[in-house]
Amino acid sequence: MRNVWLAILAGAIPALAQAPEISFDSAADFLKLPNNIYLGEVAGVAANSKGEIFVYTRTGHPTITIGTSRPFAHGGSRLFEFNKSGGFVREIGQDSYGFLVAQQVRVDPQDNVWVVDQMSNMVIKFDPNGQVALLLGRKAESERVPAAPLVPQAEAAAGGRGVAGAETPARGGRGGPPGAGAQSDIFNRPTDVAWDSAGDIYVADGLGNARVAKFDKNGKFVKSWGSRGSGPGQFNQVHGIAIDANNNVYVADAGNNRIQVFGGDGTFKTQFTGIGSPAAICITPGARQFLYSSNSNPPDNIDAGGEIYKLDLTGKIAGKFGKAGKLPKEFGTVNAISCRSENELLVGEIGNWRVQKLTLR
């Protein structure tokens, strides 16, 4: 009862500190790996309808090899499947051409497994058997060494990681004007993927571009919206995307410290603030849906942030839990939340190279 009152209070006063604490337990040692397989930075974690778990991790050796005059990029990420008890099942997409820098994995309602790779600029759909079923985007043929800056000048000025003054894309195969991105499946550091009830595909694109790109279920480009900025419908680091049962599109606009809500056609509806910088979001299924959003700490600082917020779909904060750190029940740059069940979450951490299974109380 006390929690309910606190929740109502928190919703009325949208200040960060007002959100009630949700108590929780963690199984930080939940996934069991074979002796010769190690998780690296866990960029993505997702469960399918049977509770089987998919982890897309930055591991192994990101490699540039010498070709002719062009250096070629290989490897650096792997996709693993676990059963619902955390037992290792198999690897999917071994040595895939598109696995360079893991960014996200999501499972659609038909149990297809979708991965988003930030460096190959690809969204790859695997069917439940692990076969490649659909590709969006194309990996650059070669790398520039030394690398050109990652992000356009505008974002660099806004605090992006690139070097100011850059006007050329970092690698071949990237296109479009700075900010918005081309009207196509040419991505620039995409971050996430989601589907509406018709199966249309929405890609968060991303850290290099500043748009949401929409495709039909066959992968044909429909439209995209967004440009770099802080106004309604503008983005600064599109870090995640999720869609509710009414086909509203929730976009984690991390650099602007907000979640923007759109209709399926890109019409701006509202925005949620007071939740820090949303780096990972998810929406629970079922009749009454909730939204989780992580105010992830940056990888170079565990002394601030890190908490995860629970909101209803009107943006009211129901509570928050956790903080940055390295211990169990602490979070190291959460990059993915899987919330197939309202009170049982999987979180993937960049900083702590692990998946925690959280039980909220």
Binding site: Y38, H61, L100, P146, P299
Partner: protein, 351 residues
């Protein structure tokens, strides 16, 4: 004219100093400690090859952990007799360019990788249980280093080519960092930043460092830092405040402190990489010291065959009479059995 020239000559001498090993201060008339090297100590299975042996450490059972740069950087475990047991961390995200391995009192295995800027803690079963630092993201690509990028302030939770790790009796963690930064950082046992000495900028003051290349912590929590490019060892207290400086041991590449009620300190004046002319005559020896800096003796010299040292990069001194050394340029780990020192200083000590 002389007055004008002498500062210039002094500056020239300073510039030339790194190339002239004999100009580094060394104690004279140090007793020579005789030793034997165990022949063919580590036995690798067919198909496994050691590369540059960067790190070696033993656990409480005497098992050896060797962190080596082969085609990929790899971590091998051997039993106390040198028999190969297993590989740990194969293909993990943190292994690109080995630098150090140490085993803490609970037998956790910690590695320091200067290619990924990470310190990784494996539990005794070989599972990763903590990561310090953050690997630069591959999506950023290869960064130009010529000209070098401007020096960045050292972050609390990121490293610049870190070199070594140690712990005090409370489990607090000390990291020497390193080639890019020039500091030692202290974390609590849960990985939270507590303090540092030095900074991103190299220097030669008492609380400055210039390529801190290794460290060890004694039972009182004092920290001994191999301040390599300053040709000295710096001693700091548990809060990283300056205590002492030992500058009569050549170039301190790596240090270790033995356990037990009477702790000894070892430091290696390793021969420089590439064996420049003249270097074999006055580098390569390892010093055995009291914690207060008193030199008890020295052993070894530069050389390529077993018994000689080729750039000793790390030492294990869990048993102060059985020193295990990892060498960069001989791709080798040697176990050295020290004997009682000679009665009087050997003539070689004057070299």
């Amino acid at each position: 004219m002389k007055r004008c020239l002498s500062p210039f000559m002094a500056a020239l001498a300073l510039l030339a100093a790194p190339a002239l090993a004999q100009s580094k201060a060394k104690a004279q008339n140090v007793p020579e400690i005789p030793f034997d090297t165990v022949p063919n100590f580590l036995k690798l299975p067919p198909g496994l090859y050691m590369g540059e042996a960067m790190g070696v450490a033993t656990n409480s059972k005497g098992h050896l952990f060797v962190f080596t740069r082969s085609a990929n950087t790899r971590l091998f475990e051997f039993d106390q007799n040198g028999k190969y047991l297993r590989e740990i961390g194969e293909g993990n995200y943190g292994f690109e360019f080995a630098h150090s391995v140490r085993v803490d009192p609970q037998d956790n295995i910690w590695v320091v990788d200067e290619g990924t800027n990470l310190v990784i803690k494996f539990n005794p079963a070989g599972k990763i249980v903590m990561v310090l630092g953050h690997r630069p993201e591959a999506v950023a690509g290869a960064v130009a280093t010529n000209p070098p990028p401007p020096r960045q302030p050292a972050g609390k939770y990121t490293f610049g080519r870190p070199t070594d790790v140690g712990w005090d009796p409370q489990g607090d963690i000390f990291v020497s960092d390193g080639y890019v930064n020039n500091r030692v950082v202290k974390y609590d046992k849960n990985g939270r930043f507590l303090a540092q000495v030095g900074s991103e900028t190299p220097g030669s003051g008492p609380e400055q460092l210039n390529l801190p290349h290794g460290l060890a912590v004694d039972a009182q929590g004092n920290v001994y830092v191999a301040d390599r490019s300053n040709n000295r060892m710096q001693v700091y207290d548990n809060n990283l405040k300056f205590k002492a400086s030992y500058d009569n041991i050549g170039t301190s590449w790596t240090v270790c402190v033995s356990p037990g009620p009477h702790q000894y300190l070892f430091t290696s004046n390793s021969n420089p990489n590439g064996n420049p002319p003249g270097s074999w005559e006055n580098t390569g020896e390892i010093y055995k010291m009291e914690l207060d800096g008193t030199i008890l003796g020295k052993f070894g010299h530069a050389g390529k065959l077993p018994g000689g040292f080729q750039v000793v990069h790390m030492m294990d001194c869990r048993n102060p009479n059985e020193i295990i050394v990892a060498e960069i340029e001989s791709w080798r780990v040697q176990k050295l059995l020290l004997k009682p020192p000679a009665e009087k200083p050997a003539s070689a000590a004057a070299r």
